[in-house]
């Protein structure tokens, strides 16, 4: 159908023309219009407290105490259950967040702007591995780290970024892909490149030697640091592709631990949701699939621009880490995703595939026709609040989201 082909061409072109730049780090309430006290932004499509999974509830309780809206976790849970907290998806506020995806007023957020289309997206800092709020952690160690990020790390990053000026992100991603990252479960190369970009500026702007050391050490010890930059980058790339009539290209994929949601260009901000699936993967010692929480996080936005599971061939090490098999299997994942996408990104290439561009622009029609759902690389959270990450794996987006989207586009175009 020519209308759809033209619309998809336009959607892909807008995604590929993006020029995402990292501009700043600011408190969330300064950047995110409409974000206010006693409001929590979460990962995934809309969800109410009574439907939230364990880690999401744990993170919500922790965020309430962190913001000083309650004195302890028990009180915080009562407030959340009693309707005293407003919940909204990050995506409704131009934001994204990995796993539970908590975003509240005082958390520092990265500000990424797509210079080509002038739209922005935001994401809180990555806290590192172990017991962290994004996996539902909420004890004093978790909250103290968030306080340090708010009071020390965020302001230092802001000063450093003013010193460097806007950082061009596509080239960092291109270098990371060549160095073995796929930008979802492996970000060690991009995090290292980012550290090289920022290290001199941090040293130049900081007035305290210990603070300088702590800030640089925090980035250096966190292999996933760049994920929280890659995610808003990806969102700034797909948002301009929203609202092209007839386009069947996916503009967002996300999960809240209970439901998976997608948005499609031709249907604008409408969500198509279905129950999330369980990731299949490898578990840390002492844990098994019995401990695992279902799929969660806004991080699947990176797959939406051809990274993560779509760029598995760039990252054989990830294939092993997420239990997806041998390096040759990694290439098969990328080839398969090429069957459900409308093009490739020539700026993000994979050496192991003779420099083919990452498959980009998921077409809901092709997903339903082939029966091949998008592959997402993901961390696995413990099902109980407060425990943290227990493994990593691969998960499929539920097919029902895509069949609903196909029907909605058909209806809009008067096709039955």
């Amino acid at each position: 159908m020519k209308l759809i082909e033209d619309a998809n061409k336009e959607a892909l072109s807008r995604i590929l023309e993006a020029e995402p730049m990292l501009l700043d780090v600011v408190p969330a309430h300064e950047a995110i219009k409409g974000l206010k006290e006693r409001m929590i932004l979460h990962a995934g499509p809309p969800i109410k407290w009574d439907k939230m999974c364990g880690p999401m509830r744990g993170a919500v309780a922790g965020a309430i105490v962190f913001e000083g809206w309650a004195k302890d976790l028990a009180t915080a849970e009562k407030m959340a259950a009693g309707g005293e907290i407003e919940f909204h998806p990050n995506h409704h506020f131009n934001a994204v967040g990995p796993m539970t995806g908590m975003t509240t007023v005082s958390m520092p957020v990265f500000v990424v702007e797509n210079k080509r289309f002038k739209n922005r997206a935001y994401c809180a800092m990555n806290e590192g591995l172990g017991k962290v709020m994004r996996f539902g952690g909420n004890d004093e160690s978790v909250l103290n780290r968030l306080r340090w990020l708010r009071d020390v790390f965020g302001p230092e990053m802001a000063k450093a970024l003013k010193h460097t000026g806007p950082l061009e992100l596509k080239s960092i991603v291109a270098r990371g892909l060549a160095m073995g990252d796929e930008l979802h479960q492996r970000n060690v190369a991009c995090s290292s490149v980012f550290l090289r970009e920022i290290v001199a500026a941090v040293a130049n702007v900081s007035t305290d030697k210990k603070v300088t050391a702590d800030v640089l050490d925090f980035i250096a010890r966190n292999d996933q640091f760049f994920l929280n930059i890659a995610m808003p980058m990806a969102k700034t790339m797909t948002d301009p592709a929203k609202g092209i009539r007839g386009s069947t290209v996916v503009t967002a994929m996300c999960r809240n631990g209970t439901e998976f949601g997608i948005r499609v260009s031709g249907t604008g901000d409408q969500w198509f949701t279905a129950p999330v699936e369980m990731p299949e993967g490898l578990y840390f010692p002492g844990y098994s699939e019995k401990d695992a929480n279902p799929d969660m996080g806004d991080s699947a936005i990176v797959e939406t621009v051809g990274l993560g599971g779509f760029a598995m061939a760039a990252s054989p090490a990830v294939a092993g880490f997420v239990g997806a098999g041998s390096p040759s299997s990694a290439a098969n994942f990328t080839r398969a995703m090429g069957e459900i996408t409308v093009g490739q990104n020539s700026e993000w290439t994979i050496a192991a595939m003779d420099f083919a561009g990452v498959p980009t622009g998921i077409d809901v029609r092709l997903v339903v026709e082939t029966g091949m759902a998008p592959t997402i690389n993901t961390g696995i959270a413990h099902r109980e609040p407060g425990v943290g990450q227990v493994g990593a794996g691969v998960v499929k987006a539920p097919m029902a989201c895509f069949t609903q989207a196909v029907r909605a586009i058909a209806k809009d175009l008067g096709v039955s």
């Binding site: 159908m1 020519k2 759809i4 082909e5 069947t248 398969a336 029609r365 092709l366 339903v368 026709e369 082939t370 029966g371 097919m399 069949t403 196909v406 029907r407 586009i409 058909a410 175009l413 096709v415 039955s416």
Partner: protein, 62 residues
């Protein structure tokens, strides 16, 4: 009998068999266990075999 022995199928099975398996992957392992060379091709019916959805997709240009 002699006619069947010379049939194309008899000739095929009396030489080394190389198999292309389309669809269900379960057959691949059985053949590999018998040391038969096999290449697997992933395939499933369009739209998971849902004729109404397949027809809709055809109208949408797939």
């Amino acid at each position: 009998m002699s006619g069947q022995e010379n049939s194309p199928i008899q000739k095929l099975l009396s030489s080394e068999v190389k198999v292309v398996n389309v669809g269900l992957e379960g057959f691949v392992k059985d053949l590999q266990d018998c040391n038969v060379q096999v290449v697997h091709v992933e395939w499933s019916p369009p739209a998971g075999g849902d004729p109404e959805m397949a027809a809709l997709l055809a109208k949408l240009g797939v």
